[in-house]
Symmetry: C2
Subunit: 400 residues, 2 copies
């Protein structure tokens, strides 16, 4: 069984999580009700392919098999991080998504998005991003000889641009409202012959849902909660969809409570959750060290809100000082180098356990969405002792 197969030239059907309307993937970017779409399909079995790596293990539940560097995507470890239990107030497991080809969870969505465009003979894919997604799409396209258009804001740090440019995409700086670009690009793509795989498009969600499958397999069941950062809401939607499919396939007895965490400086989804609203109201993003998740106008914000509420989870936000502390603790107490955005689950869990939403016996999975190595090489303020090699034992003994 291949759900929504494109192999035989079948059209891929997409549905709305909210109103249930269905369309052909090529026909609609969003549901007529305004909400985002994801790929439909009757999931009746869960039968991973042991002969394939990572995302490819779940080919039966994907519209296409990964190609190029997509075949090396996913397959990340779930690490039991006892050293952080006291910090978060529960039994913590970290899903280390930094162990992907371009160092973030974005590779899962790119693996499916690029393979789909490749199979249909497209020459070029594209995305709207100035961070992990831009690097990921550029790398996956490069690995199969396809072009990639990356739309970045007019002013981004040169270091960031260099990380993306190494894969040689067509880099285009956009002047104007960067938030609108998400929609403009999806509209303009077909005429330009560019398959845009933006943050929460159906193909990206399809790839990213595989993280739920891996958590389920590694944990040996459904954990007591799953916590992840939320930005566009695409990843949150994907984790929700993945666990829903496991439930529908009859292998999981429930969907775990999903907890989503934002930076306080840009927390439109958390605000809606706190206010009891059904819809997310856009905000002007403030400055935060968790810049990767500072999306003030999240296209899948309402869907993420629904995922948190319908699974018995929550959406919360944490200030930068707590994010910074959580980042440090993940390195010093778990040996994990993550970017600040990925430490928000650890920071958020402290509040969830303090509030009683999570107890100290709960087995909780935090998704560390990306490596911290990308932007670390330059900064340092480090104390180190100095000893002489010629008398190491004595000098080292004194220094320690």
């Amino acid at each position: 069984m291949r759900v929504g197969a494109v192999r035989a030239g079948m059209s891929v059907e997409v549905t709305c999580y909210d109103c249930g309307d269905s369309y052909a993937l090529a026909d609609r970017k969003r549901c007529e009700c305004g909400e985002p779409l994801w790929i439909a399909g009757d999931v009746t079995a869960f039968d991973p392919d042991d002969g394939a790596y990572g995302v490819g293990r779940y080919g039966d539940l994907l519209p296409v098999d990964p190609v190029g560097v997509g075949t090396g995507t996913g397959g990340t470890p779930l690490v039991r991080t006892e050293g952080l239990d006291d910090v978060v107030g529960c039994r913590l497991h970290v899903k280390d998504e930094g162990e992907n080809p371009t160092g973030s969870f974005k590779d899962r969505g790119s693996a499916v998005g690029v393979a789909y465009a490749h199979e249909r003979g497209a020459n070029r894919v594209g995305t709207v991003s100035h961070g992990n997604m831009a690097m990921s799409m550029s790398a996956h396209a490069a690995s199969v000889g396809m072009g990639c258009v990356v739309l970045v804001p007019a002013r981004i740090p040169p270091g960031r641009l260099g990380l993306i440019a190494q894969y040689d995409p067509d880099l285009v700086q956009a002047e104007g409202d960067y938030g609108r670009l998400y929609y403009e690009a999806l509209e303009a793509g077909p005429a330009l012959g560019v398959e845009f795989v933006n943050s929460d498009t159906p193909l990206r969600v399809a790839g990213q849902k595989t993280v739920a499958f891996e958590i389920f397999e590694a944990f040996g069941g459904v954990p007591d909660g799953v916590v992840l950062p939320v930005s566009s809401g695409g990843h949150a939607s994907a984790v929700w969809k993945g666990f829903r499919e496991l439930e529908r396939a009859g292998v999981a007895d429930r969907v775990p409570p999903l907890y989503f965490v934002q930076a306080a400086a840009c927390d439109p989804i958390a605000q809606a959750y706190r206010n009891g609203d059904d819809e997310v109201t856009p905000v002007e993003p403030g400055e935060t060290i968790a810049f990767s998740i500072a999306n003030g106008s999240p296209p899948s914000g309402n869907r993420a809100l629904a995922a948190a509420r319908r699974t018995g989870g929550a959406v919360l936000s944490v200030p930068d000082d707590e994010i910074r502390e959580a980042t440090d603790r993940m390195a010093r107490q778990a040996g994990l180098c993550v970017e600040p955005a990925c430490a928000t689950p650890v920071a958020g869990l402290r509040h969830l356990s303090a509030d009683g939403a999570v107890d100290d016996e709960a087995e909780v999975v935090a998704i560390a969405t990306g490596t911290g190595f990308k932007e670390l090489g330059g900064e340092a303020d480090v104390d180190a002792a100095t000893v002489a090699v010629s008398d190491l034992e004595r000098e080292l003994g004194s220094a320690l």
Copy 2:
């Protein structure tokens, strides 16, 4: 079967690859003949544990099971990189070791070295490194609450120090001959209560040999050649040992030719190979972008030389301009961001195929030993077009 088990308090036996002498691990740092040692053991079966991740899959062939972030180590993908076939003149597969917790192959050795020290109740591990191994040891120790002493040269770039310091090890700058420090540290360790797991120590080789097991499993047999960078010779020794064990276990019919590549600015092992010498003569390291492998006095140099010769392989060196080009091509034609040291196999393979050592039908594995993300964030010189969001389709159409 557990080879060289420490569980039951058994002592771990180590042997010399060259003269065959055996010792207890705790008693000797090197063989009396001067050569390095590795863990002995009769390998009679190869029976990976499907329930464990990465390095832990091969617990039967390791002295100890990984702990902490070691449980998330290994399990990296082997990616078929067709886009590079024309560059290297053969059918290339890349083993992406950047997909490890600290972004390099060093995590495999740390997983075993730290677990061993942890199981024996040591308080502190240590290493002599200012790069990947330092980060790796610090992270693995942190993940199980152990201390870690890292001996770095007196003058290293602050960015590099910051990458290591995030895990909060005891950082010590050593004044004097850094090459001697490898030996001094191993000697001083026991008195100081520090288990040094340096570049080619038996425990590190034990962990690193698992990359051969993973290549064998993913490839579905023994490839026509395996190519990797060589520095201390520890990794080269480990790959050799891994394939030897597969052969002894009766699952592999041969050990593949092993090709080792150095930077021309520091190539003592390649010089010995070219000269037909049995022993490596130390050199003064020159400047190279492949600084990770610029070891002028490799402690396992003779063993690496033996591995290349006895498997029908070779040792060669490549200049910086070829390393730089190979690094770029790996990103642009395979979607892989690697540090320059890890691009040396691709640069070296061009020579091997030009010389007829490798033909265009050969299925060859290159080990990309570490991610390039660690030191990229700062530099950039990038051209990008600019368009207006408000008229995206027209402007983007013109820009592309």
